[in-house]
Amino acid sequence: MLRRNFIKATAVSIALAAAGFVSQPAVAADTIKVGILHSLSGTMAISETALKETALMTIAEINAKGGVMGKQLEAVVVDPASNWPLFAEKARQLLTQDKVAVTFGCWTSVSRKSVNPVFKELNGLLFYPVQYEGEELEKNVFYTGAAPNQQAIPAVEYLMSKDGGSAKRWVLLGTDYVYPRTTNKILRAFLKSKGVAEADIMEEYTPFGHSDYQTIIAKIKKFAGEGKKTAVVSTINGDSNVPFYKELGNAGLKATDVPVVAFSVGEEELRGVDTKPLVGHLAAWNYFQSIKNPQNDAFIKMYRDWAKKQKLPKAESVVTNDPMEATYIGIHMWKQAVEKAKSTDVDKVIAAMGGQTFKAPSGFSIKMDEKNHHLHRAVFIGEVKGDGQFNVVWKTKGPVKAQPWSPFIAGNDKKKDEPEGK
């Protein structure tokens, strides 16, 4: 009796499993699953929420035009909550449970470092849309944000130039984690190569979510008062930027005296800040909302319509920024590569990605490098205006090839300009 029940039960479960096995590919044939891995809560939500919305908007745009290879895209959104180990957990869930063909996600480098082993182990595909410190080249990752030579170095060069104020002393200010530390290491080496003395560089870090910038502003003032023209390079990330800029405005540190150039502050981060006292402070990016061209007008309009349709908070004042554009480019390039490879298979898509081009909202035809998984991008430097937008004061003539291995770090000259094991 007992045994017969057991046999029955086994038979039923095998049948069910078989049915499941058969039916699963049938479901998967209808849609292609796409993972979206951005913090929707916690300290990084200020920056990353807009990237989730951009990804969903782009997916809806592609679906409305017939999808990819005749299949609709299906977004799987997860919230890793600004919690770095949770990023790895959610990435594993996307790859093993949801079986996504590609993932768009991460902002901070520490979150990317946390998911890299997962994508490598399970041979997944990640598109990372934010400027970062370089020093990394993974076969399973495409970097659509800037490498240091496409953002940090040109920004510092601009501040050294006559128009940038001929800065001679430097404050390198950041949040305490891998991106600011590495970027500042590169910048320090770069500044030294330009003849800046050790005593003319001050490095300063704060924890994530820090909200009391009085001491730091006082220190900057003191450092700047020692005779030479001073500039601040800020790699502060996340919502700490709001108290930092508020304090900067309250303390009356003007851009004409001590300009602050930020690498992680764009239109979105400044939405919650009164920018009138901040006019003239700078940001370096590969895209600004204020750039005028038909692609950008269409992109801005698309996002505004999307915000209204989705009833996002303060939909009437939404802005676009660089990582949003990078997300948009990434999804479109992935689509083109899938269509070229005629498959969503990760290795085939990776092979097809090299050399893809896309007419981007920044006004250039952007190319994915044939080898090094980075985009060729133009660099813009903008000054904050009273309305929270940026006024482009300097730009490169055309797209610049990324150097993920910065020449300013010793030993990098021997590293290959393409991922291992490709």
Partner: protein, 500 residues
């Protein structure tokens, strides 16, 4: 030819400044910064009121070129422009405009300005502005060919409190930059004076930022000093009560924006009672439903309140969204109070220090001067005896907990003015709050005050010397060691009831 005339007419009508040199006006829209700067100087030299108006428009970003597009400027042009405008504004009838102008000139002075500054100085009637002008004039003449003029300038600069002046004087006192030994000596004497003044200013600034951090810690911890310190409830949801206060402020701001835009600046005053009662109401709810069943069971309370904190965070996410919300400083709290050129005390922080004092007074009066406070103290000192003499102990527990929660709500109002308001903002303050209460000594309000101020000032001094990350670590290690040596905290309760 006609085309050119037409273009010129268009250009002139667009600018509508017929009296000014049209070529210079047009050059303001030039591509190169050098051309723009040259045009600014040419226009500034005319000293016409039209030139002033035009340059002001350029500085405000409202000036348009002949294609109707905004003329944009960068920091370099802006600096030159502000300098030129400041010179034009030196003759303004309004004294506040003149003060601003002199300060602007001081940041970017050169020898060519000396005669003009001397004229302005001799004409000036306001003694404060005159003193500033004397200083700026001295800066301009410090490189004069005549060594007597240089000595006079170096001596006149002794009264300055500007870090830039310090650097200039230091350079002047070095043989490489100055040949005359007399001038060097005068410059060095002035340098020492300015340096002392600046060191003093720096110390004042540090003490103030320590006070400010201390007052924030105090506001965050005062509620906990009542619920944990006096009642013995380990309330892990304390941070979320702060969050409720901050969101109440946000809600009131929204109501004022929608219905009383004219009184928007005063929304904070309305937010204070609302935040208090909102947090207190949540406090009553927590106490009645969960915490009162767990009195005397510390571990269970800890777990239960931790669960409650997660529920409150999630509730805030559902109601207000996961992203931070924007709570603006009212205009009377924006900007800063300039004590010396090198220290500006932000107004929002000054107001918060005052607010912390107010809340402290409120709590002190409530606990020591009212019947309710007496009951609370009686219940915590000896519950059985208090019950015997007719104190309704159960109700007093609820009221005391509500009071602690309400005070946390007030802390939330203050936090909303300087930190980010989001669902998990409370998490960042819970550790700090417990640190303050434990360090100060459980069961003591005075202990919390000294602990908060002490932690604030110590943290700020370490921060300015070793950075924010190290400061956090050092303070934590210090507290662990202190508690090892003195588990009862700074101030211990004395008397028979302590053991019970």
């Amino acid at each position: 030819m006609r085309k050119l005339l037409l273009a010129l007419c268009c250009c002139l009508s667009a600018f509508a400044h017929a009296a000014l040199d049209p070529a210079a006006v047009r050059q303001l829209a030039a591509e190169e910064s050098d051309d723009k700067i040259a045009a600014i100087h040419r226009l500034a030299l005319t000293a016409e009121s039209e030139a002033l108006a035009l340059l002001q428009q350029l500085a405000d970003g409202t000036l348009k070129d002949d294609k109707g597009e905004d003329i944009t400027i960068n920091n370099r042009v802006r600096r030159e422009l502000e300098g030129a405008l400041a010179v034009l504004k030196l003759i303004d009838p309004d004294a506040t405009v003149r003060i601003k102008a002199v300060k602007e000139i001081a940041t970017n002075v050169d020898a060519g300005m000396a005669p003009m500054l001397a004229k302005a100085r001799d004409r000036e009637t306001d003694p404060k502005i005159r003193a500033l002008l004397v200083e700026v004039h001295a800066l301009a003449t410090l490189k004069d060919a005549d060594s007597k003029v240089r000595i006079a300038a170096a001596t006149a600069l002794a009264g300055s409190a500007d870090p830039n002046t310090k650097a200039v004087l230091k350079a002047q006192s070095e043989p490489a930059n100055e040949t005359e030994v007399e001038v060097r000596r005068a410059a060095f004497r002035s340098y020492l004076e300015v340096k002392d003044r600046l060191t003093l200013a720096e110390t004042i600034g540090r003490i103030f930022s320590g006070l400010s951090l201390g007052s924030i810690l105090l506001l965050a911890a005062l509620g906990l000093a009542i619920t944990y310190g006096v009642m013995g409830v380990i309330n892990m949801a304390h941070g979320e009560l702060l969050m409720i206060g901050a969101y109440a402020t946000y809600a009131i701001q929204g109501i004022f924006r929608a219905h009383f835009p004219a009184q928007l600046d005063w929304y904070l005053l309305a937010a204070v009672p609302v935040a208090f009662f909102a947090a207190a109401a949540v406090g009553v709810l927590l106490e009645r439903t969960v915490i009162r069943w767990l009195y005397g069971r510390a571990l269970e309370t800890l777990l239960a309140t931790w669960g409650l904190s997660l529920m409150l965070i999630q509730a805030a996410r559902v109601i207000f969204g996961a992203q931070n919300v924007e709570v603006a400083n009212p205009s009377w709290m924006s900007g800063g109070l300039e004590i010396l050129p090198s220290i500006v005390l932000p107004l929002n922080r000054i107001v918060i220090v005052g607010f912390a004092l107010f809340v402290l007074m409120l709590v002190w009066v409530l606990m020591n001067k009212t019947r309710l406070g007496m009951f609370v103290r009686a219940v915590t000192q000896n519950r059985a005896m208090a019950g015997c003499v007719g104190v309704p102990t159960g109700r007093i527990d609820t009221v005391a907990f509500a009071l602690g929660a309400g005070i946390a709500g007030l802390g939330g109002v203050a936090l909303s003015q300087i930190a980010n308001v989001g669902p998990d903002m409370g998490q960042g303050y819970i550790v700090d709050s417990f640190m303050v209460v434990v360090l100060g000594g459980v069961g003591q309000l005075a202990g919390a005050v000294w602990a908060a101020l002490g932690l604030g000032i110590v943290t700020k001094f370490i921060e300015s010397w070793a950075g924010a990350v190290i400061a956090k670590i050092v303070v934590l290690v210090f507290i662990i060691m202190f508690i090892q040596k003195r588990p009862q905290g700074l101030f211990a309760l004395k008397g028979r009831f302590v053991e019970s």
